[in-house]
């Protein structure tokens, strides 16, 4: 049904009631409740958009409303507001006591995007994720989810917003005593949704666990447990899926299959996914954009491709520690976009310039659907100008790597 007429009449009552005397507003409250009742009887559950619920906050504080909600929890179903910006965070600050865990966090996530929040453990990424769905309160700044400011919601409306945001966890957090079916059905039970049986089987089919429906969770492997977790998170048809280190407890092969599943869900359901992880390969593989955190501060924010092809100094400090550089000479990092990665650039350069250089290391990586490669070479100081000139002519992405201080002192000591 379209809630507009009902909502308008309800809101009209509210507007008048604020101006009215206390006794009048109480009467109106009752009227409003009657309207709700009538609407429910006629149309079934009222579907509210997230930005609507804010208008109902004062209303909801009435005991009457609260009692009604208990007797009819299915009466209001939050629907998607259709907004483009699913999540918008401005100047977020959060601290535990005197310890600041997050500061000056700005980010936004578009609909259908896979957004990565990356950093070492203790960087505040899980806390940031919990601020998004209201599991953690924040000190200052704004967190708007589907155009609703999370901090402005009372507990009842926060719960409704949370029902639109699924969450999966590193340790799966399934109920050990229940079987797969009951675990997936759990959120449906909480929200008194009808047709549980059908919905659960649908979800199990989506994650490929139909045959395991009646098995105990304990008997499943890690990857299967995470699939159950994903099915459970999707049970209430959320618009946003939050993944808290979802693949950190899994082996590489299982990780890959879970990532495939998430990618598939993202495409099929146009689900917005926010991934918290410390695994760079996960980010490169899946995330469209990312936020790199260190010590609660933003180190980098932007498109995954751009950030990894041209990392800033701060980002390098966190991301790059895979190769030990050779002391002496100049270390150059070459990056190959897809069109170039197939050509044998390096050997051509050696032949064209007639110089020698050593190869420190290199890798081909998959970013989303593209393959990018990079190679670190070490060039003798007398050849450096020729090499750089050649690289410029070839239009390759390159950068000179600074020799890390720690390694330099180590080398000097030897």
């Amino acid at each position: 049904m379209s809630p507009a007429p009902v909502l308008n009449s309800i809101n009209g009552l509210r507007r008048r009631s604020t101006a009215d005397a206390c006794s009048r507003s109480r009467q109106n409250l009752f009227k409003r409740e009657m309207l709700y009742q009538a609407a429910f009887n006629t149309y079934g559950p009222i579907r509210l958009r997230p930005d609507h619920i804010q208008r109902f906050v004062p209303f909801s504080r009435s005991v009457l409303y609260f009692l009604r909600q208990i007797t009819h929890p299915s009466r209001i179903i939050l629907t998607d507001s259709g907004t483009k910006r699913m999540i918008q965070v401005n100047q977020l600050r959060k601290s535990f006591g005197s310890h600041v865990v997050l500061q000056d966090i700005n980010m936004h996530v578009r609909r259908g995007e896979i957004f990565g929040i990356v950093g070492h453990s203790g960087a505040g990424k899980s806390t940031l994720l919990r601020c998004l769905n209201g599991l953690e309160p924040y000190d200052s700044g704004n967190v708007r989810v589907m155009d609703v400011e999370v901090a402005s919601l009372d507990s009842h409306h926060l719960r409704q917003l949370q029902s639109k945001m699924g969450m999966i966890f590193q340790n799966f957090n399934l109920m050990a005593r229940k079987n797969v079916f009951d675990n997936v059905a759990f959120p449906l039970h909480l929200w008194h949704r009808p047709e549980r049986e059908k919905r659960v089987m649908e979800l199990l089919e989506l994650v490929g666990l139909t045959d395991k429906a009646r098995q105990r969770v304990q008997s499943l492997s890690g990857g299967q447990k995470q699939r159950v977790g994903i099915a459970r998170a999707l049970a209430l048809n959320p618009s946003i899926l939050l993944c808290d280190e979802a693949t950190s407890a899994l082996d590489p092969k299982t990780t890959s299959s879970i990532l495939d599943l998430l990618e598939d869900i993202n495409k099929r359901l146009n689900l917005t996914i926010i991934m918290v992880t410390h695994q760079m390969e996960v980010v490169k593989r899946l995330c469209h954009s990312l936020l790199l955190l260190d010590g609660g501060k933003t180190v980098a924010l932007g498109k995954t491709e751009d950030l990894f092809l041209a990392p800033t100094k701060d980002m390098q400090a966190i991301v790059e520690n895979e190769f030990t550089l050779i002391p002496g000479g100049t270390n150059i990092r070459l990056m190959f976009p897809r069109e170039i990665s197939q050509q044998s650039v390096i050997t051509q350069m050696a032949r064209a310039l007639g110089i020698d250089f050593s190869i420190v290391g290199g890798k081909l990586e998959r970013y989303l659907d593209d393959v990018f490669g990079f190679l670190i070479i070490n060039v003798q100081d007398q050849n450096i100008d020729a090499v750089l000139r050649y690289l410029k002519e070839q239009r390759l992405y390159w950068e000179i790597l600074e020799y890390p201080l720690q390694q330099a002192t180590d080398a000097a000591n030897e």
Partner: protein
């Protein structure tokens, strides 16, 4: 066949005057056993009810709980600790006026239920609180992330998840109450403890005391057995 049996019984009777006494006291022993069972069952039930409510209050107001409230938690915590540190035999006598107020008398197994319940309730509260605290925090967080209310978390997450260990703890409580009920017998509480003291101690009929001890042992084994069985099913 029946002749042979009756001669055997005759023989036993002749050889053991104890056998005669057992036959003689059988109804009394059975009655005492029934009283004990009654006391334990009823006081376990009431202490579970009170203890459960206290445990919920503690788990909700716990500093790491669902709705932290330090002052309430401290008060409940203090009361629980205080009541638990009371030796039962003293509690039994100390609350006689209260017992009289509740059941109208301070003698008999009915009256013993009151101090038994009061002694066990804080114990139960502590055990249930521990069971609840042992539930994986992650599962609670997962439930919260789907928008579960605090009541839903208690009754749909904490309670079902803690049920197996709750059952084991109920065995601990029932067995403790069995011991306490025997203690209550010494001050006129009725039941097996009363029987053992009355005949075994005051009249030097050691055999009656041995019988009551054997029955108590069987009851303990029975309680533990049933709870272990339930635990296996529920786990």
């Amino acid at each position: 066949m029946s002749d042979q049996l009756s001669t055997l019984a005759q023989l036993a009777q002749d050889m053991h005057p104890l056998w005669e006494r057992l036959q003689d006291k059988m109804p009394e022993i059975l009655m005492a056993t029934w009283e004990t069972v009654q006391m334990v069952l009823i006081s376990t039930f009431f202490s579970l009810v009170i203890g459960f409510m206290l445990a919920i209050l503690m788990i909700v107001t716990n500093p790491i709980g669902l709705k932290p409230c330090r002052s309430v938690y401290r008060i409940v915590d203090f009361v629980v600790n205080l009541l638990r540190s009371f030796p039962f035999i003293i509690l039994l006598i100390a609350i006689i006026p209260f017992t009289r107020m509740v059941v109208g008398t301070s003698i008999g197994s009915g009256a013993a239920i009151v101090p038994l319940t009061i002694a066990a309730a804080p114990f139960v509260a502590r055990l249930i609180e521990t069971c609840f605290l042992e539930v994986d925090r992650g599962v609670i967080e997962a439930a919260r992330s789907f928008g579960a209310s605090n009541a839903q978390i208690i009754f749909r997450v904490l309670f079902p998840e803690a049920l197996p260990s709750l059952v084991l703890n109920i065995a601990v409580i029932a067995i403790t109450l069995l011991g306490y009920s025997a203690m209550a017998g010494t001050v006129g509480g009725g039941g097996l403890g009363d029987l053992a003291v009355k005949y075994g101690y005051n009249r030097f009929q050691v055999d009656i005391m041995v019988y009551s001890v054997i029955i108590l042992c069987v009851l303990v084994l029975l309680i533990q057995g049933i709870c272990n069985f339930l635990y296996k099913i529920l786990r």
